[in-house]
C-alpha cells in the first residue's frame, strides 16, 4: 500500500512540474485533470484498511469533478476563446521548472519544521501538498492568460485538498460536499466570466486588464 501511495505522491509532484514546464494549454489542462484523478484516489489508498461508503462517495465526487467536469469547463472556455492554445508566461518554462525545484525544497523544509502530526504513511503528503499549493500560486501570478490563472487556482485547490486528505478525516460529509460544491461553483462562475471577458475584449490576457487602478 505504501508503495502505491508513494508512487501516487510522486506522480502528483510530476504533474506539478509538467504544469510548470508545458507550453500547451490543453496539455496543462490534461495534467491538472490527471492530478485531480490521482488525488481522488488518494483518500481511498490512504485509508485502505478502513474503507467506508462515505469515503468512497467523497472520492468519487471529487474525482468526477476534478478529472472530468473542470477540464470540460476549461476546454469549453478555451474553445469559445478561439485559437489561444499557447501558455503565455511572464516567467520562462525552464526558469519555471527551476523555480519548481526550489519550491519543492522549500516545501520539504517547511514540512520538516511543522510539528509532526499524523501517521507515518501520510507524512510525505504534507510536503507534496505544500509544493502543489506553491506551484498553484506561482502559476496564478506568472502566467498571462485568464484560463491559466483558473488552472493555477485548480492546482492550488488540489494542494489544499491533498492536505485535507492527509489529516482532516473528521469533516462531516455534508461540509465536505459543500466545499466541493463551492469549488465547482467557483470554477463555473470563473468559466462564465472568462466567456464574458473574451466576448468583451477579444482576448484573455489579464495583463491587459488595466483600466482600474490608482495612479
Amino acid at each position: 500500500m505504501s508503495f502505491w501511495l508513494e508512487s501516487l505522491i510522486i506522480l502528483v509532484v510530476l504533474c506539478n512540474l509538467r504544469v510548470l514546464g508545458s507550453s500547451r494549454l490543453t496539455a496543462c489542462i490534461q495534467t491538472v485533470a490527471l492530478q485531480g484523478a490521482l488525488l481522488g484516489l488518494l483518500p481511498v489508498l490512504a485509508h485502505l484498511d478502513a474503507l467506508s461508503a462515505r469515503l468512497l462517495l467523497q472520492a468519487a465526487a471529487s474525482t468526477v469533478l476534478k478529472a472530468a467536469v473542470f477540464p470540460w469547463l476549461l476546454n469549453r472556455a478555451l474553445r469559445q476563446a478561439g485559437l489561444q492554445r499557447e501558455v503565455e508566461p511572464f516567467v520562462g518554462f525552464t526558469a519555471s521548472l527551476a523555480a519548481g525545484v526550489l519550491f519543492l525544497g522549500a516545501a520539504l523544509w517547511l514540512a520538516a519544521r511543522l510539528p509532526h502530526a499524523g501517521p507515518e504513511a501520510l507524512s510525505r503528503l504534507v510536503p507534496t501538498a505544500l509544493f502543489t499549493i506553491f506551484v498553484g500560486l506561482f502559476v496564478i501570478v506568472s502566467r498571462r492568460q485568464a484560463v491559466t490563472q483558473v488552472l493555477g487556482y485548480l492546482v492550488f485547490e488540489n494542494g489544499i485538498y491533498a492536505f485535507g486528505m492527509a489529516f482532516a478525516e473528521k469533516q462531516p460529509l455534508l461540509v465536505e460536499l459543500g466545499i466541493l460544491l463551492d469549488v465547482f461553483m467557483g470554477v463555473f462562475v470563473m468559466g462564465i466570466t472568462l466567456f464574458h471577458i473574451h466576448r468583451e475584449f477579444d482576448h484573455l490576457d489579464t495583463d491587459r486588464l488595466t483600466a482600474l487602478r490608482d495612479s
Partner: protein, 489 residues
C-alpha cells in the same frame, strides 16, 4: 427558525430566477427582505434552537451581525427596487468613455441578490468552521454576477479580480481550517465547532493553531479588505451598482470580520490572545495607513468610499486586536455598516444624476441636488467620525481602549490616520458639495425626488445620528454580550 432564516432568501432566489414579470419580482425582493428582517427581529425575543447538530446556531455575536445584515438588506432592497425600476426603463446606458452597454437580466440580479443574503446569513449563523468557510466562499460566488450587472469592460475587470483574489484568499482560509483540524488531531472526539473548540482550546496544539490563525487572517482578511490583501475591494466597490456596493461594504465585509473573530475566539481561549491581537492590530494599522494614502487625492468618489471601507476594516481589526476595546469594535461595526450603507446609496443617487464618478466633474451638489447633496455631506461627517454621529462614539471608545492598555504610540498612529483621512475626504467632499453646479449637474433628470431612492439612505443616516446621541442600552448589552461570546476581554 434558523432554517426559515436561510430558506426564505434561497427559496425566493429560486423563485426570482423563475418569475418572468419585473413587477412581481421586485415585490418578491421586498417581501423576502421584510420577512428576513421580521424573523431577525423575532430572534431578539425568542432564542432560536440550534439546528443541524449544533452546526447552525445563533449566538449573541451572530445575532448582532445578522440584525445588521438584515437591516441593511432591507434598506438596500427598497432602494434596489427603485433602482431597478429606473434602470429597467432605459435598455442601454452610456459609460464614462461614451460606450453603450446593456445591463444583466434583472432576474439574474434579483436572484443573486437574494442568494447573497442567504449565503451571508449562512456565514453568520454557522458555528462549524467548515460550514463557515462554505458560507463565505458562497458569498463571493453569489456576488460576482452582481458586480458584473453593468455589462461593460470595467465592471468585468473588477469581477475577474474579485473572483480570483477572493477565491485564492479564501482557499487559504480553507487550508487554515485543515491546520485547525490538525491542531485538534490529538483528540478525536473534538468537533470542529466554535463552542467546542473554545471549550477545549487548552488541548489544541499551539504551533499548528498559530499557523492556522495566520492562514485565516490572510484568507478572511482578503475578504474583509485588510491591506495588503485589499486590492480587489476598490475595483469591485466602484464598479458594482451602488446597491451592491452598499451590501458589499456594509454586510459582506462584516461577515468576514465575524469569521475572523470566531477564529480569534479559539486562539484567545487557548491563551494566544496576545499573538492574534498583535497581528490584528498590525494589520489594522497597516490598512488604515494604506487607505489614508489612497484617499488623499482620490479622483473617483466611489473608490473614495471603498478605500474608506478599507480604513474602517482597519479600525475594526485594530479595536478587536486591542481586546479591551472589543465591544467598541463591534459597536463600530454597527456604525460603519449603517453609515457606509447610506453613503453608497447616496453615491448611487449622485451617479444616477451626474453620470460620472469623477470628483472633478461634480460641483455644487447642495444646490443642484439639495436632498442627496445634504445626505452626502452628512455621510462624510459621519464616516470620518465627527460628532454627533455614532462613529464618533465608537472611535472614541476604541481610542480609550488603546490608552487604557498604555499603547500610546499605537493610539497616536490611530489618531494620525483618522485625521489624515478626515482632511483628505473633506477636501474632496466639500469641493463637490459647494459652489455653482457644474455642467454635469445642470440638467438633473429629477431622480433626486424619487422617494424609493431617498428614504432608505435617509433613514439609515437618521439611525447613525441617533446612535451618536444615545446608544440604546439593549444595543450596548448586545455588543458587550457578543464581545464576551467572542472571548474578547
Amino acid at each position: 427558525m434558523i432554517w426559515t432564516l436561510l430558506g426564505v432568501p434561497l427559496a425566493s432566489a429560486a423563485a426570482a430566477f423563475a418569475i418572468r414579470a419585473d413587477g412581481p419580482r421586485r415585490g418578491l425582493l421586498l417581501a423576502a427582505a421584510l420577512t428576513h428582517a421580521a424573523l431577525t427581529a423575532a430572534c431578539w425575543t425568542i432564542q432560536p434552537a440550534p439546528v443541524f447538530g449544533g452546526y447552525l446556531a445563533l449566538d449573541a455575536a451572530g445575532r448582532l451581525f445578522l440584525s445588521l445584515l438584515s437591516a441593511l438588506f432591507l434598506a438596500a432592497s427598497f432602494y434596489g427596487a427603485g433602482y431597478l425600476r429606473a434602470a429597467g426603463r432605459t435598455k442601454e446606458e452610456e459609460d464614462a468613455a461614451g460606450f453603450l452597454f446593456a445591463n444583466a437580466p434583472e432576474a439574474v440580479f434579483t436572484g443573486c441578490l437574494l442568494c447573497f443574503l442567504g449565503t451571508m446569513s449562512l456565514a453568520v449563523l454557522s458555528q462549524h468552521f467548515g460550514l463557515l468557510w462554505v458560507g463565505i466562499e458562497a458569498t463571493t460566488l453569489c456576488s460576482a454576477p452582481l458586480i458584473h450587472f453593468h455589462r461593460q469592460r470595467r465592471s468585468l475587470e473588477a469581477t475577474w479580480k474579485y473572483l480570483l483574489v477572493c477565491s485564492v484568499g479564501i482557499a487559504l482560509a480553507l487550508l487554515g481550517n485543515f491546520f485547525l483540524a490538525v491542531a485538534a488531531r490529538q483528540h478525536h472526539d473534538l468537533l470542529m465547532t466554535v463552542p467546542e473548540l473554545v471549550a477545549q482550546a487548552g488541548r489544541l496544539d499551539k504551533q499548528w493553531l498559530k499557523a492556522a490563525f495566520l492562514l485565516f487572517l490572510v484568507g478572511y482578511g482578503t475578504k474583509m479588505g485588510l491591506a495588503p490583501m485589499h486590492t480587489w475591494l476598490p475595483d469591485a466597490h466602484s464598479e458594482a451598482p451602488s446597491v451592491v456596493s452598499a451590501l458589499l461594504s456594509g454586510a459582506l465585509l462584516n461577515c468576514a470580520f465575524l469569521a475572523l473573530l470566531r477564529v480569534n475566539a479559539v486562539l484567545a481561549a487557548a491563551g494566544l490572545a496576545d499573538f492574534s491581537g498583535e497581528l490584528l492590530v498590525g494589520f489594522g494599522l497597516l490598512s488604515m495607513a494604506v487607505a489614508a494614502a489612497f484617499i488623499i487625492g482620490q479622483g473617483d468618489f466611489k473608490r473614495l468610499l471603498a478605500y474608506s471601507s478599507v480604513e474602517h476594516m482597519g479600525i475594526l481589526a485594530f479595536g478587536a486586536g486591542l481586546g479591551a476595546a472589543a465591544p467598541a469594535a463591534l459597536l463600530h461595526a454597527v456604525n460603519h455598516s449603517l453609515t457606509k450603507g447610506f453613503l453608497f446609496l447616496t453615491a448611487g443617487n449622485l451617479l444616477a444624476a451626474s453620470r460620472t464618478k469623477s470628483v472633478g466633474e461634480i460641483r455644487g451638489l447642495l444646490r443642484a441636488l439639495p436632498r442627496s447633496g445634504a445626505l452626502w455631506l452628512v455621510g462624510f461627517l459621519a464616516i470620518t467620525g465627527s460628532p454627533p454621529f455614532g462613529t464618533f462614539v465608537s472611535e472614541l471608545w476604541i481610542l480609550q481602549g488603546a490608552l487604557a492598555r498604555h499603547r500610546g504610540v499605537l493610539a497616536a498612529l490611530y489618531l494620525a490616520f483618522l485625521a489624515a483621512v478626515f482632511a483628505a475626504m473633506a477636501s474632496v467632499v466639500l469641493k463637490m458639495s459647494q459652489g455653482e453646479p457644474s455642467d454635469r449637474l445642470k440638467e438633473v433628470p429629477g431622480d433626486d425626488a424619487d422617494p424609493w431612492r431617498f428614504w432608505p439612505p435617509a433613514l439609515l443616516a437618521a439611525a447613525v445620528l441617533v446612535l451618536g446621541l444615545w446608544v440604546p442600552p439593549p444595543l450596548l448589552d448586545a455588543v458587550r454580550e457578543a464581545a464576551a461570546v467572542l472571548g474578547m476581554r
